[in-house]
Amino acid sequence: MQRTVRSTLRPLLAGALALGATLIACEEGPPPGEQVVVPEDVRRLPAPPARPVCDPEAALDPGAALPRRLTRLEYRNSVRDLLGLDVDPSIHFPPEEQSLGFDNNARSLQLTPLHAEGYLAAAEDLAARYIERIDSWMPCPELDRGVDAQAEQRDCAARIVGELARNAWRRPITEAEQSRLMALYDMGPELEGPAFEAGLTVVVEALLQSPNFLFRVEVGQPDPARPGMHRLDDHEVASRLSYLIWRSTPDTQLQAAADAGALRTAEQLEAQARRMMADPRAREAWWTFFAQWLHLDELDGLVRDPSYHPGFGEAQRRYMHDSARAFVEHAVWDAHDLRRLFDGPFRHPDDPPHVGERRGILAQPALLAVTSTPVMTNPVYRGVFVREQILCAPLAPPPPGLAVVAPDPDPNLTTREQFAQHSDDPTCAGCHVLTDPIGFGFEHFDAVGNWRVQQNGHAVDAAGELVSTWDADGAFYGLDELSAMLATSAQVHDCVATQLFRYAYGRGEGEGDACTRVRLVERYVDAGYDFEAMVVALVTDPSFGLRRGVDE
């Protein structure tokens, strides 16, 4: 492959291409103990990831729909909206196992004995607090709560139980379920305290530990028009919407729409989605998507070594968080244009006047910090971040037996010079040509996101290059130029859709999802790169209310 590169990159690429051995480093190697065999023709970069291709003739394949356990956030939001209790149950529950960078992957979410213990403790605690406040929500305020009015109390309890169960389980409940719950209520006299309250407390405990609450189970009914597929029932669709847009339980309006069968047409779904997107809960919930996708959640507990970054502490971390969040939310909710996420301007208050504005999320101190180590920047981390998170172009693991070596620090060199030395090794450069030249483009920003023109007495060089992309290959200098290239790249915006898809469906994309992904991008681009339009496209897509059929 003929490549034109700027002189600053020539040593790296030349090193990579000089030896036939080089690019084998990016492919699966031989088993341990065997020599790396060098094929003749390896003087090529790996191809960029495949574009999704939608075959309009192909049958719809909506994919499986594994039961999804509520995450800690979803649990917290759900009990807040159900019981009016805003508490953090996360100290009871282990953290979510993550896949593809998101914490809501159905296959990875576990329910271990430790979780079960946590759910028991949380349910008892929440139930007690909810019932303590019974007078604030009692539907039968005139009720005689004395010992002689047990029949009236039971009637009232039945109402409460029916409504609570319906809300907690996000669907109408069966008679068998109602009587099972009332049997628990009837334990009241055997327990401590007034029987009415004690009985209701037990019911709440059971509701919150039930799989009907803790899991979103999507089954639906066979769709006569689509063999092999199930159409989700209206309440399952309502939950899909609410946990997607709010990461919480459906509200009264959504439930009413489900009851009325009014969540079926694209118009109905779009109207609900737009209503929900306008609710403050949406902003809170979508922040978790952006924070996880862009690794901004890693700011929690971020450490900078005081000998290298004196004074870094909670105030700076807070500033980084707020600045990044405001920037992301401006692109999503105000500009309605996600190109601004990559190239929108902002000013950092500590930048010297000549720096002017910074551009894009990559120049946000939060992002610059989470892609660094406690002591210095790491161009490899930053390059990997752009390839995997922004371009959806994952890197191959290093081949077995190949030495993969970190740079030798030298206080007299810039970070770039330190890494370039090691990239001279052709076995490393084979892969690192994909990442390091991207990371070098960040070098005007240190590990806490501060601007610098010199490092260790040497001028910073932020020349970089993107290779092996669909449409953004080319040399650049510094983050402004890189961000401008990314903002207009079809691969980047396709990647946004891919990330949204993974988050929304709680699974990795498969071949059967190509048409959905293509449609998401089309609607989003047509709407001027409006994120909300992509969300609407997702919930009105033909696959949204479907799942692969039950195989029995």
């Binding site: 594994l66 896949s99 605690d125």
Partner: protein
Amino acid sequence: MSRRRTVRHLTRRTFLRRAGQAALALPLLQLPRGVGAQGSQDHPRRLIVFYQPNGTKKELWSPRGGSEKNFEMGPLLRPLDTFRERLVLFDGVDLAVAGEGPGGPHQRGMASLLTGEIITEGDFVGGDGRRAGWAGGPSLDQVLARELRPGTTFDTLELGVRCKEAVPRGRLIYRDREQPVPPIDDPLVAYERLFARTQTPGDPEATARLLHKRRSVLDAVAGDFDALYRRVTAEDRAKLEQHATSLRNLEQRLEAIASTSACQPDAPLDVGDPMAEAYFEQIAKAQIDLMVSAMACDLTRFGSLQCSTSVNALRFTFDGLDRFQGHSLSHAGDGNASMQPHWDHHLLWYSGLLAYLLAALRAVPEGDGTLLDNTLVLAVNELSRGNTHSHADMPFILAGGAGGLLTGRHLTYDGASHNDLLVSVMNLLGLETQSFGHPDFCTGPLTGLI
């Protein structure tokens, strides 16, 4: 979560902080005695897995010279010198099964290490066109608990030190295929779970009422599964069964959960954020103390101590080393004169921590001997070498005693599969089996251990 709980928690922390200052000077003093009876040969047999990340340097690890019994410890294992006669050091055992499947070498190593299975295809980007998932089967500790059913309060105990990443390269223990078990990283949380459970102290009637209520609730919840099972696919059902199984497990422990443990060690120190680099050593030692106490009290017989995760971003600031993270050090070139001494320092520190575990076990009397006599420690690492990502010639160690293991030896194999070592461990703990994990990588127990 609740105010009540938070207050209780804070109070406990405050209390522990004060109490801890006294405990600091006298570690292990209050460890309970082991449950095994004096004069009896029939003590519980226990397993503790000890994990350290990112490989080692076998040329400085392996024993030198001599023979199987007559050898000098490698420089990296010097901190274990005093336990030389209680160790079996392995050369020539490969983690061959980790050579298969999608994902990177750290992911594959972690997923295969205690399961002997190939990592599954899943949702993790492996970069080679395939996506890595989780381990393809249960880890041996879980199988041992399930098969041997010792009837302890906890089937197994997973304790970690700064296991921050909830991803395959950060998980070691699996209940089953694709069912990772997160370790508890906070000693105070672990202590509370193990030893300070009671909610109705000194009131047997209240305890009985609480138990009755909890049983009824769990029974009702169990009823919810039947209706769900009838509607879903087999794949969906497996996911829901995890919940049902965990609830059954909980139901069996309700009584223990509602009562105080009669066997009580000192509470751990509250050092602060357990995820902070600065407290890594203190947290690690606190977790070891808790693990040993839990074993002594017979609360569990199968435990794991996971010291951070593979590819960790951990500096040994507690040891004055602030510049390099462990994973970066493991990647230093062999001739890198500025980084290799730091990496050696990390590796020596882990040897010292393993020695601390063995010392803690030895400090607990049990029967006519100590807990170490009846506990098998299996020390593992997901790589043999960091800067090559090799899975050949793994740095495995067995320590302590159980099932007649002959210690004080250096055993050299010629490319044995580590699945065979796992089979041997299971045999030593009393589970008769000829195979574990992926059958293509297992030929039966290793020869020469007993």
